[in-house]
């Protein structure tokens, strides 16, 4: 278990401030599985209120989607050593993940909750020039593409000497 915890405090006006505490021995540039799990769970807890404000049915759908996919996403993404992670739940009924990686790669996973036709997931992957993957896709296909891209130009290694040549 990594030493990362998130403490949140409710401030005046219903706003919330959270602080992330990392183990001294942990590389601050790397967010690993337990930390991302903890962050995404806290994020869902905070932002899913936007779904319950719409209806219990929409909240339940969001919770089901989160429970169904979050651990898979976190498990796969953490293998790619993201440098930042974020989850939001929006009032237009979506779960929206943002991940950043070394060498200016970023990935966005957005699942629109649809009680009528079923949820749809849209995935975009960017490199430093713009989008390189932009489609309605299953999570495993999108993550597989991301893995291939990050690994294929040797940027997967976190050794600075390697990163310098894999822009």
């Amino acid at each position: 278990m990594l030493g990362s915890t998130i403490n949140c405090a409710e401030l005046e006006g219903d706003s919330i401030k959270c602080e992330i505490f990392m183990d001294q021995n942990h590389d601050l540039n790397l967010l690993e599985k337990e930390h991302i799990l903890s962050l995404t769970k806290k994020s869902f807890e905070l932002y899913s209120k936007r779904l319950s404000a719409i209806s219990n049915e929409v909240y339940d759908l969001g919770l089901f989607e989160f429970n169904n996919s979050n651990e898979f996403i976190v498990n796969e993404i953490s293998k790619l050593n993201p440098i930042s992670s974020s989850l939001s739940v929006t009032s237009d009924k979506s779960l929206h993940y943002t991940f950043r990686f070394i060498n200016d790669y970023s990935a966005f996973f957005e699942t629109y909750l649809d009680t009528e036709f079923g949820n749809q997931t849209f995935i975009e992957v960017f490199n430093n020039e713009g989008p390189i993957y932009s489609r309605q896709s299953s999570l495993d296909k999108g993550i597989s593409f991301l893995k291939d891209k990050i690994k294929s130009n040797d940027c997967y290694s976190l050794m600075p000497s390697v990163n310098e040549v894999c822009v």
């Binding site: 006006g13 219903d14 919330i16 962050l39 932002y47 970023s106 989008p131 932009s134 309605q136």
Partner: protein, 221 residues
């Protein structure tokens, strides 16, 4: 804080003309969000909630001039977006300005100045760089790949009689005419009336805004 509505915000032909000629790509634009809303998630990324469907089409904002040589630089403030018009004549007061004949009397303007609102900003240059193709590609290989239409974002000057600094963000797309002609998407959507393809466009816009950090918090003056 304000006993009467500030006259500097009222539109007339002269000030409308000055705002139009002074604005440039480096100017910042200010938008208000709720006092309980934060621009960032706890993961320190821009929260896509501030760029949701209902908000983005026709997003209201005020210009903050970038050069102190501009005619209106000294009479426009970031806090101007905190004025909320109230009363029975709200709709008429917020109708687009069309001529100098309909300048309202200050005493006829009922308003609230909500100091608690949070402010966010962006640059015209950044927002108008948002463009791309839509809809998203389908995952199923055996389905025909949809035609790619194009969208772009434009910041339009929309003065109304009580706010001469008012602009709106608009999204244009060309799917209705099958690629021939760009038309504006309508905003103010209910949860059950999303125009065709808008989720695809907004999804892409959200991601670019988050990726390039195109929104920033603005501190009240």
């Amino acid at each position: 804080m304000y006993n009467s509505y500030p006259s500097r915000l009222l539109s007339n032909e002269d000030t409308v003309s000055k705002v139009l000629s002074s604005q440039c790509n480096d100017c910042e634009f200010i938008h208000r969000i709720g006092s309980d809303q934060s621009l960032y998630t706890i993961g320190n990324e821009i929260d896509p909630e501030v760029i949701n469907f209902g908000r983005f089409c026709g997003l209201s904002n005020n210009i903050k001039f970038c050069k102190d040589t501009d005619d209106c630089y000294h009479v426009s403030f970031v806090d101007d977006v905190k004025f909320k018009i109230k009363g029975e004549n709200k709709k008429a007061l917020e109708a687009p300005f069309d001529s100098g004949d309909n300048i309202p009397k200050l005493e006829s303007i009922q308003f609230e100045f909500d100091e608690t609102l949070n402010l966010i900003g962006f640059r015209k240059r950044d927002m108008e760089s948002l463009k791309g193709v839509y809809p998203w590609s389908k995952k199923q290989q055996n389905e025909p790949i949809p035609e790619d239409y194009r969208f772009y974002v434009k910041l339009e000057y929309c003065p109304n009689s009580i706010n001469v600094f008012h602009f709106q963000l608009e999204i244009y797309g060309n799917h209705r005419s099958k690629g021939e002609k760009f038309e504006k998407f309508k905003g103010r959507l209910s949860s059950n009336s999303k125009p065709e393809y808008l989720n695809s466009i907004i999804g892409k816009i959200k991601n670019i805004i988050i990726r390039d950090r195109l929104l920033f918090p603005v501190t009240s003056t």
